[in-house]
């Protein structure tokens, strides 16, 4: 029973991080109809920026959140303005932007190899190994903090999208970009802003992930897949759907440790995806993303 509670709590804490990164991928797709295949690249970049700030300037990873978010936001806008914007809109552009963003990912990975070598890195702080007691369990301070930040981020994002003018404009563009142009919304600006927000979420997820796990230039490809599984499971656009799907994935992964050799746990999410596709072609909740 103790073990069971432990695993459930571990899954819940992990789900916060998963929801954050998946929401970034889903937001960009929902608004621009572009799958950011560079999602993993930004996650990796976020991890390295946090690591660099910690190694060189001794900045605590949690204090470097604004810097990491800003860097990945600007990086996202640059990628959108410099590259993605020049592709045709619509279905033909969808495959092209996929290949293009894949190219950007390769470049980022290569850059990381050159700058930081392929070695595994970790961000180690004095509280890395500390834990707090709750539910009769010892919880890692880091994991609790990551969960808290992730939940806070999602709440802020939800409020931003539902309460502010810009947020409403983003949702309106997701519904119908043409009508938005007619009523005077600067759709181009919304696109680049959305891309920036999506990549900022990815960067944040990278930083948070880096405070829990070790990483190298290939870091992020697993997270791209996980984000993708969550988007398919949870549907686009709903924070609740994303959170629920993130929780499901985290639970499955955590409990898979009991049954499977550790090298296979990385493949669990994907098996879950295929099972869902076979059994529930419509996805679990919300809007469908399947053809």
């Amino acid at each position: 029973m103790q073990r069971f509670t432990e695993l459930v709590v571990a899954a819940v804490l992990l789900a916060g991080l998963y929801a954050t990164m998946a929401y970034g991928l889903g937001l960009i797709y929902g608004v621009l109809r572009v799958v950011n295949l560079n999602h993993g690249g930004i996650i990796m970049a976020g991890a390295y920026v946090g690591w660099l700030l910690h190694e060189k300037f001794g900045i605590d990873p949690y204090l470097s959140i604004p810097a990491v978010v800003a860097v990945s936001f600007v990086l996202g806008i640059a990628i959108y303005r410099g590259l993605v914007r020049h592709l045709p809109r619509g279905p033909a552009g969808a495959v092209q932007s996929l290949l293009l963003l894949f190219g950007v990912w390769l470049v980022l990975r290569n850059a990381a190899y050159l700058l930081f070598t392929g070695n595994d890195q970790t961000i180690r702080t004095e509280y890395s190994t500390r834990s707090v007691a709750a539910f009769g369990l010892a919880l890692s301070v880091n994991r609790v903090a990551v969960f808290g930040i992730a939940v806070l981020t999602l709440v802020v994002l939800h409020l931003f999208l539902t309460r502010t003018f810009t947020g409403k404009a983003i949702r309106a563009v997701a519904q119908n970009a043409d009508s938005c142009t007619l009523v005077g919304v600067d759709v181009e600006r919304i696109y680049s802003l959305t891309f920036g927000i999506g990549t900022a979420l990815a960067g944040l997820a990278g930083l948070l992930g880096a405070s829990l796990f070790s990483f190298n230039p290939s870091y992020g490809s697993g997270d791209l897949l996980k984000s993708f599984v969550i988007v398919v499971l949870g549907g686009l656009g709903s924070v609740m759907g994303t959170a629920a799907a993130a929780l499901i994935l985290a639970l499955v992964e955590v409990f898979a440790i009991l049954a499977l050799p550790s090298y296979l746990t990385g493949a669990v999410g994907f098996v879950l995806l295929v099972l869902v596709l076979v059994l529930r072609p419509g996805g679990l909740f919300g809007h469908r993303v399947l053809g």
Binding site: Y29, R33, V34, V35, L37, L83, H86, L87, G90, P91, A92, G93, A94, V95, Q96, S97, L98, L99, L100, F102, G103, V104, W105, L106, V107, L108, R109, N110, A111, Y113, L114, S221, G222, L224, L225, F228, V229, V232, P261, Y263, L264, G266, A267, G269, F270, V271, L273, V274, L277, V278, P281, G282, H287, R288, V289, L290, G291
Partner: protein, 345 residues
């Protein structure tokens, strides 16, 4: 007397036969060294693999980042058969190809419900999951120490003609898949999967057929590669780099065209040779830059350039060029992964 289906162009057939005939005598005529002949063999092999990838990526518009799974599986199944049963190598290749095709169907049939970008991401998952499992499945792959195949004296140089035949068959297959009535159906699916279904096409069936053909061919290429290298290990055979290389060959040459990926493969093999020799730390980034540049400036790659040049010199009428480009176009309306059985209005 009508021996050929109506969609076979005699000049094209003649050109293929002539090219293969010239290719067959080339090593003797030019007196190639063993080294150069092997280089050409490898190039021909990847021409075949790139074309087979293009059946999925270009003809169906379903870009796969997971074709290394079939390449590797074909290789290891064939290697195990050669080691255990001492079969003639071509039987082992075919069995390897069949197993690869079966595997492609197992993961592809469900994931092909996903259209366009979503399918592509799922294939990254397929590739990674397969690589993980295969790396640890030592009974099949020998784990990280890999497998060595029995050495047959003289086989390596003989493989040149096998590669030529394989490539010839795959080029003919590419042509047939585009020009035949099946090809017309594939183009319709790529353009608009729902509209295609509404006039009586079964997209599931057609996609599964292409998946099987592509999986089989790439599996055979993997098996061939195993015989050619004499040693294979899962990290190389199932690696993400392997999958990317198929994508790059096709994109450089011209995704969706009949012959473009063949040129792309030639360029890619030479480029990789050069990069790995001269800039081993940069090749991944250079692939990335290549992808970006091609997609931004000439989405149809070398074939796109060729179309442009041909039109400049009046060799290709603009209407014909437009039709050719439309057929090659990377995605159609089908690339929208929007639900086909809609949700609530």
């Amino acid at each position: 007397m009508k021996l050929l289906p109506h969609w076979v162009s005699r000049p094209a057939l003649a050109a293929l036969v002539a090219a293969l005939a010239i290719g067959a005598v080339l090593p003797k005529v030019l007196g190639w060294s063993v080294y150069s002949q092997n280089q050409v063999t490898e190039t021909l092999l990847f021409v075949a693999a790139a074309l087979a990838w293009n059946w999925m990526g270009g003809y169906l518009g379903q870009v796969s980042f997971g074709h290394s799974a079939m390449f590797g599986l074909g290789g290891f199944i064939s290697a195990r058969l050669l080691l255990a049963l001492h079969l003639p190598f071509w039987i082992a290749w075919i069995v390897g190809g069949l197993v690869a095709a079966g595997y492609a169907l197992v993961w592809g049939h469900p994931t092909l419900r996903l259209r366009g970008p979503y399918f592509s991401i799922a294939t990254i998952g397929v590739g990674e999951a397969t690589r993980l499992v295969m790396t640890y499945w030592e009974d099949l792959t020998g784990g990280s120490s890999g497998l060595s195949l029995p050495i047959t004296p003289g086989l390596k140089s003989e493989l040149y003609w096998w590669a030529l035949a394989l490539m010839g068959a795959v080029i003919a297959g590419s042509y047939a898949l585009r020009k035949s009535t099946l090809g017309l159906g594939l183009l319709a699916i790529k353009s608009d999967v729902d509209a295609a279904a509404d006039v009586g096409i079964s997209p599931t069936l057609m996609q599964d057929i292409v998946l099987l053909l592509s999986g089989f061919t790439v599996g055979v290429c993997g098996a061939f590669y195993a015989s050619y290298q004499n040693f294979i290990e899962p990290g190389d055979m199932f690696g993400f780099d392997r999958s990317i290389s198929f994508v790059l060959m096709a994109v450089i040459g011209g995704v969706g065209t009949i012959i473009g990926p063949a040129f792309g493969a030639v360029v890619f093999v030479m480029l990789r040779q050069y990069l790995i020799g001269s800039y081993p730390q940069l090749y991944l980034g250079i692939y990335g830059v290549l992808l970006i540049v091609v997609i931004l400036f000439e989405p149809l790659g070398m074939m796109g350039l060729f179309f442009r040049i041909a039109r400049r010199f009046g060799l290709l009428r603009p209407e014909v060029e437009a039709t050719l480009e439309a057929k090659a176009a990377v995605g159609g309306a089908a690339a929208d992964p929007g639900a086909r059985e809609g949700g609530a209005p």
